[in-house]
Point group: C2
Chain length 213, copies 2
């Protein structure tokens, strides 16, 4: 499959398409149009076609997309075909909340998102180290490199205090992590080839302001 340079904003829309396609698949739909996909995701049909065309010609003009084929293609593009091991660094309430959210979600979904598996937590607090949280083992942060290597972990959620975030990210990058979800309110320095998304509470709150009355 082609894997061209894709703008990050498009990558962020792919899970929306995957979710929509998963909904249609669970209703045993075989074909969907770009208009239906647009309606489910709130984008124009043209935007849907343009986004998906970046990865090749999935649809047939005048017919639409094959639901199962598109779902599999989206999983391939997002590298969600095989389980993706994830770790959380910082098992304070934020890290624990993310972990419990992830675990609760896995129990309630059938949309193929079970492929994201939180396999390990890290913390420096001796009270937490060598315990489990929602069934997930917690290791000392000193073991980060070894555990990430052994478990083949690909994505790190960084939920440590701001002043420790850069140090932790440097350790993650050295251990082979290439994608980071950062909750610390700082801009992180990472080498090219490492992607950082910062959870953006500000954008969420701004869009919610629309609904105040």
């Amino acid at each position: 499959m082609r894997r061209p340079k894709v703008p990050d904003v498009v990558v962020r829309r792919l899970p929306l398409y995957l979710r929509a396609v998963g909904d249609f698949a669970s209703k045993d739909r075989e074909i969907i149009s770009s208009h239906e996909l647009g309606k489910s995701t709130g984008l124009t049909a043209a935007q849907v076609r343009k986004d998906l065309a970046l990865f090749g010609e999935f649809g047939k003009q005048g017919i639409g997309y094959n639901v199962k084929f598109l779902m599999n293609q989206l999983k391939d593009i997002l590298r969600l075909r095989d389980p993706v091991p994830v770790c959380i660094v910082g098992m304070g309430h934020l890290g624990q909340a993310v972990l419990r959210y992830n675990m609760a979600y896995h129990r309630s979904t059938s949309e193929g998102t079970e492929m994201l598996r939180i396999m390990a937590g890290f913390d420096v607090d001796p009270v937490k180290v060598d315990t489990t949280c929602a069934g997930v083992p917690i290791y000392h942060t000193d073991e980060l490199s070894r555990v990430i290597g052994e478990m083949g972990i690909k994505i790190a959620v960084v939920a440590v205090p701001a002043q420790r975030a850069q140090e932790v990210v440097d350790m993650c990058v050295k251990a082979g992590i290439t994608a980071i979800l950062n909750f610390a309110p700082i801009k992180l320095e990472t080498p090219a080839g490492v992607k950082v998304h910062t959870a953006d509470v500000t954008l969420e709150l701004q869009s919610l302001a629309f609904y105040t009355h």
Copy 2:
């Protein structure tokens, strides 16, 4: 100004437009095209024009949008023209992290997002009640209704454990809150007219899987 029924997905894009327009404004640009706005936000020019056209004719065909006018219109649409008081219910590490993020952001930005002001935290822990966190007073959750009313708080961030979230949301709604950012991993029941966004860590992690290699 017209305030038609706007799909939530469009509302969620408005802060992206506001941020982009703010960037152009800070560079003293007077006019921007839908193409430039699209490039900054990763959307097609057609999508930008379609989204903004929902609120009236802001731009001039072949010329573009007046930066200052559009910024003010977006702030009006998002109701960010005047300070929007926000509260956080649940001052565990998650609530504290959101609060500190918001406060750090205010110090580092000039894009008009300073209009979201976290004015109060709520918790049931007697150790936290009547203290402050990053300068923000923490009240007992029993005082939620009174404080929300007195401070004119419009948006609540719900960061309590899942089993307490519905109860807290009911209290918020009764007190007049119409927009909620929910971090608890449950589907909340709210009456019509109350908007709930649930912070979706799953979508974030799915899009990050794209960057694993």
